[in-house]
Symmetry: C2
Subunit: 431 residues, 2 copies
Amino acid sequence: MKTLRLGLAGFGTVGSGLAKILHENREIIVSRTGREIAITTVLVRDAARKRAVPIGAEARFTTNPDDLLGEDIDVVVELMGGVDAARSLITRALESGKHVVTANKHLLALHGPELFALAASKGLGLFYEASVAGGIPIVQTLRESLGANRIERLTGILNGTANYILSEMTTNHLDFGTALKQAQDLGYAEADPMLDIEGFDTAHKLVVLIRLAYGRDFPLGKLPVRGITQVSGQDIQFAREFGYRIKLLAQAREVDGKIEASVQPTLVKHTYLLARVGGNYNAVRVEGNAVGPIMLHGQGAGGAPTGSAVMADIMALCRGLNAPCASFDNTGFGNTPLPPADILPKGEGVSMHYFRFSVTDKPGVLASIAHTMAEHDISIAQAVQKGEHQSSDVPIVFLTHKARQSAVDEIIRIIDGLSVTLRPTVHFPIL
Amino acid sequence: MKTLRLGLAGFGTVGSGLAKILHENREIIVSRTGREIAITTVLVRDAARKRAVPIGAEARFTTNPDDLLGEDIDVVVELMGGVDAARSLITRALESGKHVVTANKHLLALHGPELFALAASKGLGLFYEASVAGGIPIVQTLRESLGANRIERLTGILNGTANYILSEMTTNHLDFGTALKQAQDLGYAEADPMLDIEGFDTAHKLVVLIRLAYGRDFPLGKLPVRGITQVSGQDIQFAREFGYRIKLLAQAREVDGKIEASVQPTLVKHTYLLARVGGNYNAVRVEGNAVGPIMLHGQGAGGAPTGSAVMADIMALCRGLNAPCASFDNTGFGNTPLPPADILPKGEGVSMHYFRFSVTDKPGVLASIAHTMAEHDISIAQAVQKGEHQSSDVPIVFLTHKARQSAVDEIIRIIDGLSVTLRPTVHFPIL
């Protein structure tokens, strides 16, 4: 069988991780796929730079994207990140008849449907296991293993940097800035960590997972996203007292045929496995109407775990191409276009909630807040008020029973307008 | 596209679970596979018995296996269990050109290689996701998603009944008999629970997983197997005091190119996710040299979760058959015959250990046991002796550092021969 020839775009952490796997595990890979796989061309910014990674004498480095589109490439592996250049490269690769493997969640979240349509029209594979949760095989699991299920709920911890920061704030009582600095020193966070901590990276991944779970396209712009910069040490401490951990959760579920989805810091009961996902690990919990709850846990980033997922896609392409004819269903829905998701209006979502009100310590303040909540049908499950004697700024924390989002938004508007309220109310949902 | 026609062998928990999924999730399944799937024939013991499960008017019940081999069946789904009749049916089905989906770990453990060879010679699919860990997609994950990894270690809780019993003994302090009775009342355990509690069911599953992870055939008869009947409440309590839980673990790892594997009750540190697998849940932890540690957690049995896995296999067949030509790699190693595993001799295994010695309370007994261990290079990490004053039967518990199995066997032989030893020494490895 002919060697499968890869053209890599990008040779950073994941690209060099992939080359290392291909080098070290060559024998295993060949025994499984029945053919050699070689990196023949690598698109980089600086082709002259020396690189320590073993990549095969035949590989050439280039700065010209056209070099990935020639006769000598079977599969373009896009690991360069970013949106515009990657979109152009993948489009041109598919138009040139190349299969594509990508780890680019941002690109897929924004332009997935267009790229899937192009791949389908050409009968090509466009695989993306590495785009969500690194080495955890959640794309494969949703697309194939759980394919017979109606997915009732999908919950994920999908950003290792955010989870590391929250874990350090919880376990070692670090403040946000120190924990972030530590994540950066350990190489977890990007130099500009905005995508990680503001929840956008998690949002990109959730859009990809919603397509796989529901066969619907949920526009990124319609997804409510909150990051972890709003989580204070004080909230983490209050949550702990009630038996919860705060996690940055991606969530999607189907409610009467409508999809409700969000990315936000969320209180998770400490006995749940999701609460125990520590450090920079990722996890995805899927509840199917047949399979029940399934959880997958592992490394969500890094060169080797992500490279493992990229390699799994390349091997899947190999297996397909080993047949005299190949057929690739990239979305898990037979290459039919994905209709837009019917989205649950934001106000209609129902959840338990955590509220922290910052108020002046005057008689009747707690009663008046509680009264406002009762008027809006929000029922309080647990409460704590912790003020120093005569303190002018007192936190009041309420945990509520299930409440409608519209009522939650309304009471926050009212309470934040009260003269006794000193700072905007902090609130997170409870899983 | 033509309807895919299934012939079911067996209509117990899993068979009726499958029929229910096909009925309830029909729309999802068709949207993913692009074709209808129908159960046309069901092989049962009593064809006249009324059944409450929706299965489609066209389905006929029969007691004649030949009815599964005719022109009107595309896929034989073997859910009857047992070895001989199932082996004969699957062999005949493959010889008749039918694809096969099976949940039968016992059959695969004993006769997998012969059946895989037959399927390969006919170019047919022989799929078995449901044979290990119910709804957890561990077969798919090992065969495909982690295919680029050298698997360094595989650890599984693969029998829900055994895990339920151990969990109840640990959490609710039930004795073995009461916990087993409870598992039977809940429908978890088989009427004859011997396969569950003696570890054989777990062993069957481990043999299947070793093939997928290592591409080697590990003969069932060469696998050391210990069940949970040897685990007493006393041992669970001692383990807890040291911060461990006792779990029935299937384990395999590669040591210098040799495979070490076993099924035995094992102490697991309470902070590990595996220690937190409760009730009748299953979990599999896989450590790959690229992906790092991955854990999958979910329902390991029951009609709906197992039916979900069976249906995933049927849908994978569909996807394959949707191409003008189909190619099926059932083992994940390109249909080449699996060579026998090079097995690590039992004495060469290295592990930390838990020992409970039952001895007469005489001066110097602890010292003499400790001395015997030291002589055999077994180093004690923690010790506890708990005797009532003047009691004649005292448990001495040692947790050791890493020790060779041959030394462990030898000191047990020596200590069990001492006159002060009242009952055989209990010992379990520590993960």
